[in-house]
């Protein structure tokens, strides 16, 4: 994974989301620069996952826009948003049952192979693959090699041949994260990547997050483990009832009375 030449900024402008009479998000604005980790905090139901759904294209906002650099993301389908450089992980990791670990990473790599969107025109992937063309076979072999390299980077080498159905929860999370990093994203949305992990795995994920940041990726991190979030984030934005109630450096946010109130009086470390 090479460092990105020009880190880009993700800009969320006045995003609102209303469905079924509920205002899930209300005029939310912030930005995240390439090369920083932006923590997204807030009590349950504050709208964090909705925010991620809107940024990644799973849902369309009722109002507002999301931009990556100069490019508008809102209104585009999920795979187009991903092709433009925004990828994400999910609260429950999405596994490709039927594939093994290495093949799962290859999916991510092959999407990149053709400029970020897959599949290309039939004669560039479907036909060469079906006809067993040597160039295509060599390309597939190269993909597998790159996948192995990425797995090694994430400490998952020994798992390459394991079917994804057999993975433990922590391994699923690591795989999903490795897949996401494999597409060389500019923006990485992580939805509670630490929940359910043992301390070793938490350390592994944080290491990968720091690596992503060093590579110039803008990492948006939703996480209930507030301590870990504050330790890795450069800035934090706090949502409550769909509104931003604080934004700034972790230490400042942690001490912010409105934030503490939102978490019902819990002291934040």
């Amino acid at each position: 994974m090479t460092a990105i030449a020009e880190p880009v900024t993700l800009t969320v402008s006045a995003v609102s989301m209303r469905f079924g009479g509920v205002q899930a998000l209300d005029d939310v604005s912030f930005s995240a620069r390439g090369g920083e980790v932006l923590g997204v905090m807030g009590p349950n139901g504050a709208g964090k996952t909705t925010l991620f759904n809107i940024i990644s294209g799973v849902q369309r906002p009722t109002a507002g826009t999301v931009r990556l650099g100069e490019v508008r993301l809102t209104g585009r389908p999920v795979d187009r948003v991903a092709a433009l450089g925004v990828t994400r992980t999910f609260q429950t990791p999405v596994m490709f049952w039927g594939l093994n670990v290495r093949e799962s990473v290859c999916i991510a790599l092959t999407a990149c192979e053709f400029g970020g969107s897959y599949p290309p025109r039939a004669d560039r992937a479907l036909l060469p693959s079906g006809l067993g063309m040597p160039a295509r076979r060599r390309a597939d072999t190269a993909l597998r090699a790159r996948a192995d390299a990425l797995l090694e980077r994430a400490g998952l080498t020994h798992m390459g041949d394991r079917p994804t159905e057999s993975l433990a929860f922590g391994e699923e999370r690591l795989l999903e994260l490795t897949r996401a990093l494999a597409v060389d994203p500019r923006v990485l949305l992580l939805d509670e990547p630490l929940s359910g992990l043992n301390p070793d795995e938490v350390g592994e994920v944080l290491r990968l997050i720091r690596g992503a940041r060093a590579g110039g990726i803008a990492v948006l991190l939703v996480e209930h483990a507030v301590g870990e979030l504050l330790s890795v984030a450069d800035r934090v934005v706090v949502l409550d009832y769909g509104r931003t109630i604080a934004e700034g450096a972790p230490a400042d946010v942690a001490a912010n009375p409105a934030v503490i109130d939102a978490y019902i009086g819990d002291e934040l470390e």
Binding site: M95, G98, E103, C106, I107, C112, A122, G130, G132, L143
Partner: protein, 318 residues
């Protein structure tokens, strides 16, 4: 066993060789049966790519067989082109129709997709029935057979042709499912949102699989037309589409050899029962296989741990 089942090309070659030898000894009735199994197996291989690997549903595949059959038949008769080209034209026609329809239909999922393809299959069949240019309900006859030079294909040659095509079909599909492209098909069926989040245009991939399955069906249809020299709309209706689904499921959805086995079972079971049942129950007539096939389908689906195409699907979503 594992490695044998993925060594598609050599095994396919062996099968074709065996068939080529068999046809010299079999009575022509059984040769015809073999041809039919081959034609249906070809369709089912394509269908398995779409249903088993890409994780979709088609209850209207017979329509594409019909499109291939009618296109090849009509062009050969009216424009006097050779059926070899007719078969290519049939495949192209089926592909075009599938491509066009995919924009309407592939946005739907599971149940709705099943029903939509069911509806499409019937509507296309009605078109066959009402279009007088292609014979309407009386069908289309006088379809020229395949020929190489002065040798006009006989029943044996059609059997070999059908199975050579099955061999190629499996070889192509085998390459595909073992490639990264094939893995992407599975990924889309197993975790669509996760694949999309990586930049995979799942609808585009499914479209390609749909069109590919139509190509298989179209070629099969062209062979069908020439080998029977007469076709009519009843050959390509809902009942045939259901049969294809039976062949797919019974043989194993996510399996290419399964397509061949399923086709063989569905076609052969009918023949076996027709011979056996009158011995047990004298005076009994009719096609009994429907009952047994239906029961087999139900039993298999009940026993499948997660059922059909969702077998490998992970519903993990945000």
């Amino acid at each position: 066993m594992r490695r044998l089942s993925t060594a598609y090309a050599p095994v396919a070659a062996v099968i074709v060789a065996v068939i080529a030898v068999l046809v010299w000894f079999l009575p022509s009735y059984y040769t015809g049966l073999l041809t039919l199994i081959g034609i249906y197996a070809l369709v089912t291989v394509g269908l398995n790519l779409f249903m088993g690997y890409a994780g979709q549903v088609s209850l209207g595949q017979a329509a594409f067989v019909g499109i291939g059959a009618y296109t090849s038949a009509v062009l050969s008769v009216k424009l006097h082109i050779t059926p070899w080209l007719g078969a290519i034209a049939g495949a192209l026609a089926a592909a075009l129709v599938a491509f066009a329809l995919s924009f309407i239909v592939l946005r739907l999922r599971e149940n709705l997709l099943a029903l939509a393809t069911l509806a499409l299959g019937i509507v296309i069949n009605v078109v066959f029935n009402e279009w007088d240019f292609i014979g309407g309900s009386s069908g289309f006859k006088g379809i020229p057979g395949f020929a190489i030079g002065s040798f006009v294909f006989d029943q044996r040659a059609y059997a070999i042709l059908a199975w050579v095509l099955v061999g190629f079909g499996i070889w192509f599909a085998g390459n595909l499912v073992q490639s990264t492209y094939g893995r992407a098909l599975v990924a889309v069926s197993a975790g669509e949102l996760g694949a999309q989040a990586l930049g995979v245009n799942s609808e585009g991939l499914r479209r390609q699989a749909f069109v590919l399955s139509a190509v298989y069906a179209g070629i099969a249809g062209a062979i069908y037309a020439s080998s029977f020299t007469y076709i009519d709309p009843t050959s390509f209706g809902f009942l045939l589409s259901v049969n294809f689904v039976l062949m797919s499921v019974i043989g194993g959805l996510r399996s290419l050899w399964g397509a061949v086995i399923g086709a063989a079972i569905v076609v052969a079971l009918g023949q076996i029962l027709q011979t056996v049942i009158p011995l047990v129950l004298p005076g009994a007539r009719g096609d009994f296989q429907s009952f047994f096939l239906g029961v087999i389908l139900v039993v298999m689906l009940i026993l499948m741990p997660r059922g059909l195409t969702s077998r490998f699907a992970n519903s993990g979503r945000a």
